[in-house]
Amino acid sequence: MPSEQEDPTEPSVEQDEWFLRMLEEELEDGDEEEGAVDLTGDGDQPKRDPPPGAPAPKLPAEAEGPSGEGGAPGQGPERLAGSTPTLDKVRGGAGGEQPGASRLGQTETVAGEVASTSAATSSKRVFKRPNRARKRKAVAEAGTPRPPSAAIPSLVMNDCPPVERAASVSDTCPPHPGFLRGLCIRCGELQPAEVAQGGGRDERQSTSLRYIHTDLEVNKEYVRELKHREASRLIAQKKLSLVFDLDHTLLNSSALKDITNADLPLLHEVVSREAKSKNQGPGCTSLFVLHHIQMWTKLRPFYRKLLEECSKLFDMHVYTMGERGYAMEMVRLLDPDKSFFGDHVVSKNDSTSNSVKDLDVLIGSEKSVLILDDSPKVWHRHRANVLEIERYHYFPSSLRHFGMKGKCLLERRNDESPDCGPLSSVLKILKAVHAEYFSRPDPEASDVREILKSKKRDVLIGCKLCFSRVIPKAEEKQERHPIWRLAEEFGAVCTRFLDGSVTHLVTTSEGTEKSITAAGMGIHVVRPDWVHASAYHFSRAAEERYGIRKEEKKMRTGEAEEAEDVEEGEIVSVDKVAAAAKAN
């Protein structure tokens, strides 16, 4: 035996793989977080002689190691290692004994015991495997200690109930109606792993209702049943569902960075005016600056009244393509006490598609859902449910975003009228649709889409429109042009040719052949805005306001949004007009 074997202070490297493996196995139940495992055994074991030429590289950790004299392992307990349990492998008797018979002193091993047992052995050796020790040290420093299971006998059986064994609570599971965080919401069984991972297959069968809970997925069949149940419930309460868009419908927002220095004084003026206003309380302040999300937000006039009135007739939801955080902030402004929307807020994160809005996430029958949105295009599958509303442009950035010229409401120091603005028109229509829905003997059979369609058709009924310089002549199918379709949707008849039966000529320019002829024939010559205004307000707009002459005059002064100009004429208070005149 080389002399160093006799020296317990000199740790040497044990390289016998099987030995280490065995130790690891035994350690499984013991401490894994051990910083430095001292393996002490007697060097007389012939089978476990270290390979020749395995000197003892000193580990840095060993600096604190036992430093007693040869054959004085009893000094072990005096080390600081009291904090780190020592794993003692003690073998009594020289030779003969198999390693399996070794005794594994666990963490509980009392230091004194170590001393006595090790003293009993004639000689001692500290085996050390540098890699392993270092690895363990790293684990310990990473701060992920695993408590030894031996210390918790009551839980060792780990009665985490095997889920497979779970008897189904309901006879009808599977198919599972839905999963919340991977647990069936009816029987509590875990979601089968292949479904949880294979997103593709999952997508077709179930719908994520993330706005109710982040990890909620509901089977499509079950959603259908829920929708049906919800619709009957609402009908019993004489309510319909109503989905609001946020941006440009109920409010307008602009990022702080998009507000130019020229706009700031205007904004502050509005803020101070609102602060001074006598009416305080919910719904009176409409302009907010939200520094934490870097936004200016202006709520549309009349929004409060609209929500209040609608809450009596509708089950209201918000559906926006904005981020969840933004949506929640906006809803907080609109509905501070959560009395209108509750948790019915669907944002982009909750939607099933990134670019399209869809009613699939909404619990409610399509036959009884009305949608209020400024861009019906995003509702691919539900165009018929959409009630289009004029875009609300309060901030300049909002106009720029849509590539529109002209001045926004802020720059004109104006706002929509609270009493006859787009929201109040919308409220009238909503009420009318609601009344008609429930006036029928069997509300279950009615369909808002039909009602909305017929309401639209009544708006321009009896009008025959002819277009001039509105639809490019090159366009093969003029019938497909949006304004043509819009006019037809609202009950007008459209034609390509100007004749005696035409009631309105829609044109962008006074000088076209058609418009001159039409003027001679005594036909109304109107701008395309007339069609839009009629559609937004659900009533035939006064033709005089949309006369072509007026527009050209307006064009010269650089004001484009005629519909709002009209309102301006009606409702703007005297001082605002004076201010506007001054500004010009």
């Binding site: 210390a151 839980l155 839905g178 009816r186 029987c187 069984e189 619990i363």
Partner: protein, 177 residues
């Protein structure tokens, strides 16, 4: 279910705490690190009841910090399937309601609520009302729930519960507590 467990943990302490108050700091540090945590195996560690051994410190080479191998006794809350728990309703949706039994969140879906209960959104917010209008499950009311399924994650436990069995359901309203 609650358990009294003997556990161990290695606590690291920076050198500025070495001194007469070391043990105090050490104990506080352990409590701070351990209480309120959740492991899938033991459940939520509710409270450290006793520190049996705070061990001897061992100074780490390089950092100067000392590591202590501490042994302590703590109360752990580990929910099990089939367990009946009293909890507080936190959120009501059309699909069912969420309830908390301490740190443990349970969802009771509408299919596990007795059939005569109906979802309504009245003046006090959304609620489930029983057929005879006698009992309503509203936010903050207390319910007795039986756990039918549990999902154990590394740091969180979540469960599905039912009130569709005898002796389960509303215990008291939000104002009775």
């Amino acid at each position: 279910m609650f358990f009294l467990l003997d556990m161990e943990r290695i606590v690291t302490l920076p050198p500025q705490h070495f001194g007469s108050g070391l043990r105090d700091v050490l104990h506080k540090q352990l409590v701070r690190e351990v209480e309120g945590t959740c492991s899938g195996k033991h459940g939520y560690i509710v409270s450290v009841t006793k520190i049996t051994d705070s061990g001897k410190g061992r100074v780490q080479v390089g950092t100067g910090k000392a590591t202590f191998h501490m042994k302590y006794q703590c109360v752990a809350f580990r929910p099990f399937k089939g367990e009946v728990l009293d909890c507080v309703v936190t959120q009501i949706t059309k699909l069912g309601f969420f309830a908390d039994a301490g740190p443990f969140a349970i969802f009771v879906s509408s299919s596990l609520i007795p059939d005569d209960y109906e979802f309504t959104s009245g003046d006090q917010g959304p609620c489930f009302t029983s057929g005879d209008q006698d009992v309503a499950i509203v936010r903050n009311c207390e319910v007795r729930v039986k756990v039918v399924g549990i999902r154990v994650d590394a740091t969180e436990i979540f469960g599905i519960g039912t009130i569709k069995e005898d002796y389960l359901g509303v215990l008291g309203g939000p104002d009775m507590s």
